[in-house]
Symmetry: C2
Subunit: 744 residues, 2 copies
């Protein structure tokens, strides 16, 4: 089972139970136990069942939804029944599908689909909330651990839906709630006209049928076009609002309903990868072509598998095909292949680690051992040294200085490269860790002999007998300079001859904006309240890089990394998302065209399968919402005192909107709170008003004569001019290095 | 002095001190003491002086800004000097204007104007930061309490400016820093071409003159049109970013520079009213027509008053005119007039008070006494009762029930109205506060006699001997129902005859979005970490109502208050601002056209000079940035259990942007992190792929054939369609009443 990423389940209906009642096998104590047993026999590991049936739906509707042509006495009777129910909500035996503990074991409860927690009608919403609490209380009584909620359907009232879910999470302590949502709004392609006939104001509604209404993106703009990026984002935007209003509660998950045909834009799919998807709802009528390695090892709920929709494959064909796709999914294949980063990193995905501080702390031998396992990094160094040796005039003796030799891997590679190049060299190996220095002495005695001279001490303080032709170091962190490579090399550069070679010869840090509810929750779950202002080392998995490669109007590059110690970067955000942090990468040129890279787009070309570095994650304390088509501007500073180095970071968001000319409209109208006239009491003449200097004019509204009127063609043309409007920002993170710094 | 709202100061220059040196009077110990004494003699209460002079500017420039045609040895020498200065920053005696404690007493220090803390050049910024720290350290040494900083000038690097200011605030513990800013960018009307000749990369810059450059709104769009709302907002937006990045530090204030001609739009002015303005910089070359009651009692810095610009008034004319405007300012006049809310509320402006809980707590007599002073409220009640009595058939005896009689003001007004109407009535007075009930007994015995029957007890529980024709109550809170008026009246309605009259007959709650850095800081300064989720009673003063009266495209009303217990409201935001909370108001119809209102736009028509209620303030934990032209949607719920009532609130922001059709661009390009192809491994045929049911097609990109090409006129027309795009939201406030509730 451990080779499987997803759990397979079947989604059964009240009809399936009704069928079991008709055809009950006497070997089972109850029809529910029979359908459970049959599902397991078909290979499903678990199953979902609705908690209630049509009887409950009918009773609730009769009480809570009144027909407009009901008589007064009918209304009064229904109202009395409803009040009695509201004060003590209780099910009748024949209104629920499950009534025994053994029936409920391991079941996923489907909450009544027809509950409208986001109805625009206050009364319906109120009674739906009571009914939801009643179902969840009953599910808890039966020890059910997980319930799937009906989807929100009305963008205008999804805040009410979210408020109710948040309230239920807080009042129901153990159960996990999952919000069912289609990956996008299918009505995008076929606009529906939602029923919305509310009788009000007596908070009772006449509705021909309380059937699941189609999703309403916004009631206020019924004629809004439906094929835009915004519409494609509509369901994700609702999810984002719900989980934010529930304060990223870890008992709130997502059931991704793949019923709608998959959209053609990857952005719509990839954003879900960063969310806490617990269930994937997969009706037989649709298909999933790529599951992207099953985010968060979800449970796949196969629905309608027994309806005979696809005859050739039979009922078991669906689960076989899902397993086939799973086996052939690239992330699963990569994780199974030894030597890949995916295989090496198992168990470390989306796991926050504190960055190493090798300058301040002396690393233990086991840490050196782990990093020495990297199959790529040291062969890149060997290759770089080899080429550098070739570039030195033949016959000239070479002085090599290895600054930070650790347990000696670079020394060994250096000797190998010298051998391959048929060159001789004096090799100095400097190391400040007294423990590693013992290992170096051991290797010198046993392997290297006099070819290598060991020097014990901090490279910033010691002296080397000879200036070096080639200075080799491996001080790079995930973000390049975050393990103090610049400060150490500043101290070591004096060992190098004026035209000597430094390996690495240069390196660059890269940033990308990231969305990941898991990393956000991990970072803030720490007891330490500074935990959201500290960079972490993370092997990213369920994250979504928010920036796109499409340049915005004025040619903004994807990343615009500077070599200085501060940078201001601009990112184009093609698809709406929530910024939770920044991913930090580095790329180094060792020598010539030999390099090291963990940049996601270039690492495979430059140093494929290198394991030594996971990226850095700079979290943000407050998630920042980024709409589709927005621009993100990130500032990052690398700061230093005499004793420490730290990063501070900050982000601002902008949106390009048509430029509107400022007019004097708000002079004529009166937004309240601003009643004071420009000239109180008719402005007495100034005691200083010289004739030749009428400076009071400066305070007159001067531009009213030149304001454009919107009817002129010029004004119309103006409407097409765009400008970048600020829409949000984060706070300044880690000011003064108060949360995290690196010791010098 | 207490009648004055503002302090008058003069802003002196290094030249003024140089003049004093030339014309030194022997009675003064130093030229600085002479100019200080002269300023006081002219009636100024304080003065500002630059800390440094041209000598320092020259030395700094010579060290830190290198000419491109400097020789190598000149460069090296300057570089050495700069390094020495950076490691130990120190002034020479002739580089500073002040050097003695007595000279510095009460002085406002002007930090060197030419420091470019937001230069795009890393080196200049770095050296400007060192110079700023040097000046602040020197000012602190001289016990100077306040320093005014040079303005930010470059929108693209204002984050760097803010980071430096934040760092200085944290490292300089006592001094108050004030950011000087023009009220808007004057270059809006006359675009300038900023000099930006940086030599780099050796971090030294050749600049013909380090003179104050013009403000650059954005380097990246030099040809951006300059008369838009965004441009008018540019300086406020910079201020907002700075104070946010400094985490609303209370030692950071604003010096509003009124040098630019006042703009014609009130929105540009009114937003500054909500900010912590400490100084108003007022050069003689300009004029201020309306100071709006001097927000925060600022210090007005008169500059260039001695340059003889306006001959007739002479130097003292400026200060006389400012004092004249002060005296005639409507808020000042109102505060001086007894009986006005402004007079009554002195000392309570922008002061947070916990709302009363008269149901749970028995009010003390002094509280009743305060509220009984209201000159308007009880006469409105008397008038309403009078009209209700007139509307009852003559000769018919009337039963009046006063629910919640307190110390008896409504009883007294009822008897007076009966007298005026020449009617008889049985008056029942119900009161649950045992202490107030003693006062009622006293008044019954001494004033009212048998005309009034007292009933002790909670109106929800007691019985009244007769049903009433008229039920009178005064249970309203600032937000209408926030003192549990509905719940109490639910219990009292049974005393009323079926067609009886309730006074009040109805009431409505109103909300408006509010910006106020002071209220935000007050609310979060409380030790209680729930303090930002609790409503407060506040007499608003330095606040800015963000919503405008201009309806947005689809006719959104200013407030759309429902009579239900939840509401979703939409507000149009004409000018960019920061949402810090919601203002809550109520309006009640007592009877007929007699009412009570604290609604800012209607209170003067309905119940002018009524004192009993200040508005309610619902704070938000995180300030929400709202751009110009955006839409704010606010949800508020009034929720209840059997034991308590509470409000929850939440806000979302939207911006209308042109609709862009979702295209397959991001299928063709590859935003990194999303490398997996749609069909991994070439998608093997499904085991269920029946010929007549090719459901695999569902996962194909289906819309590529119908995508519009941008060259067609149709696609161009589409660009003009707008849609509301979500740009931000707050968290859900006070969920479950965890921070504040009202006891039933």
């Amino acid at each position: 089972m451990s080779s499987r990423w997803a759990t397979l389940a079947t989604s059964l209906t009240a009809e399936d139970i009704a069928d079991a009642i008709l055809s009950q096998d006497s070997q089972f104590d109850s029809p529910v136990l029979q359908v459970v047993s049959e599902a397991h026999a078909k290979g499903y590991e678990t199953l979902s069942l609705p908690l209630t049936n049509e009887n409950w739906r009918k009773r609730w509707s009769d009480m809570c939804l009144l027909s407009v042509d009901a008589t007064d006495s009918e209304k009064e009777e229904a109202s009395k029944k409803a009040e009695a129910w509201r004060s003590r909500p209780v099910f009748m035996r024949d209104e629920v599908t499950i009534s025994r503990l053994d029936e409920a074991e391991g079941i996923i409860a489907m909450v009544s689909e027809w509950l409208e927690l986001d109805s625009p009608d206050d009364g319906i919403r109120h009674d739906a909330e009571i009914a939801l609490r009643q179902e969840l209380a009953y599910a808890s009584y039966l020890n059910i651990q997980a319930a799937i909620l009906p989807p929100p359907r009305n963008r205008d009232y999804v805040a009410s839906y979210a408020r109710i879910i948040n309230s239920c999470l807080n009042s129901t302590p153990y159960i996990t709630l999952s919000v069912r949502l289609p990956i996008y709004n299918p009505s995008v392609f076929q606009p529906t006209s939602p029923e919305s006939a509310f009788s009000s104001p007596n908070r009772k509604t006449n509705r021909s049928s309380p059937a699941t209404p189609a999703l309403v993106v916004s009631e206020s703009s019924p004629d809004r076009p439906h094929n835009s990026e915004t519409s494609l984002n509509a369901t994700w935007e609702m999810w984002d609002l719900i989980r934010s209003m529930c304060d990223y509660n870890t008992r709130l998950t997502l059931t991704l309903d793949l019923s709608p045909a998959l959209p053609s834009t990857l952005g719509v799919l990839s954003k879900w990868a960063a969310e806490s998807v617990r269930y994937i709802f997969l009706p037989a009528s649709t298909f999933i072509a790529n599951m992207k390695g099953y985010p968060h090892r979800p449970i796949i709920l196969l629905a309608d598998a027994n309806t005979g929709r696809h005859r050739r494959g039979g009922e078991s064909g669906y689960s076989q095909y899902v397993r086939h796709l799973e086996k052939t999914s690239p992330p699963v294949l990569a994780a199974q292949k030894p030597g890949t980063v995916e295989n090496f990193a198992q168990g470390y995905q989306d796991y926050l680690q504190a960055p190493l501080q090798p300058l301040m702390d002396n690393l233990p031998s086991a840490t050196y051992h782990t990093f020495e396992q990297d199959p790529i990094k040291y062969s890149q160094y060997e290759e770089a040294m080899l080429r550098a040796f070739h570039d030195k005039p033949a016959g000239q003796e070479i002085v090599v200085c290895i600054a930070g030799a650790g347990r000696g891997p670079l020394v060994a590679r250096c000797l190998k490269a010298l051998e391959r190049a048929h060159r001789e060299a004096t090799v100095f190996a400097i190391e400040k860790n007294p423990n590693a220095y013992v290992t170096l002495q051991y290797r010198q005695a046993n392997e290297w002999g006099t070819k290598v001279q060991l020097i014990f001490g901090d490279m910033r303080a010691i002296e080397v007998p000879e200036k070096a032709d080639i200075l080799v170091s491996e001080l790079l962190g995930s973000f390049g300079d975050n393990e103090l490579s610049p400060e150490c090399l500043d101290g070591a550069m004096r060992f190098l001859k004026p035209n000597g070679i430094s390996i690495p010869s240069s390196y660059t840090a890269h940033l990308a904006p990231l969305s990941s509810s898991k990393l956000y929750n991990e970072a803030r779950s720490s007891k330490n309240d500074k935990s959201l202002e500290t960079p972490y080392v993370v092997m990213f998995q369920n994250v979504n890089v928010l920036s796109g490669t499409k340049a915005s109007a004025d040619g903004i590059p994807l990343t615009n990394t500077h070599n200085t110690r501060s940078a201001k970067l601009r990112f184009y955000i093609p698809h709406a998302g929530v910024l939770h942090g920044l991913a930090g990468y580095f790329e180094a040129v060792l020598y010539g065209n030999i390099g090291l890279s963990i940049h996601p787009q270039r690492k495979d070309q430059i140093s494929k399968d290198m394991l030594s570095w996971f990226p850095l994650f700079f979290p943000f304390k407050e998630p920042l919402y980024l709409p589709s088509g927005s621009e993100l501007q990130v500032s990052i500073w690398r700061l230093t005192t005499e004793k420490q180095v730290w990063y501070e970071w900050h982000a601002e968001s902008f949106l390009s909107v048509p430029q509107t000319n400022s007019s004097n409209e708000d002079l004529l109208l009166s937004p309240y709170g601003v009643h004071a006239p420009l000239f109180p009491g008719g402005a007495p003449p100034s005691p200083m008003a010289d004739r030749e200097d009428p400076f009071l004019l400066d305070s007159q509204p001067r531009r009213s004569a030149t304001l454009p009127t919107s009817a002129t063609p010029g004004a119309l043309a103006k409407e097409l001019e765009f400008e970048l409007v600020k829409i949000g920002h984060t706070s300044l993170h880690n000011p003064g290095g108060r949360s995290s710094w690196i010791g010098l």
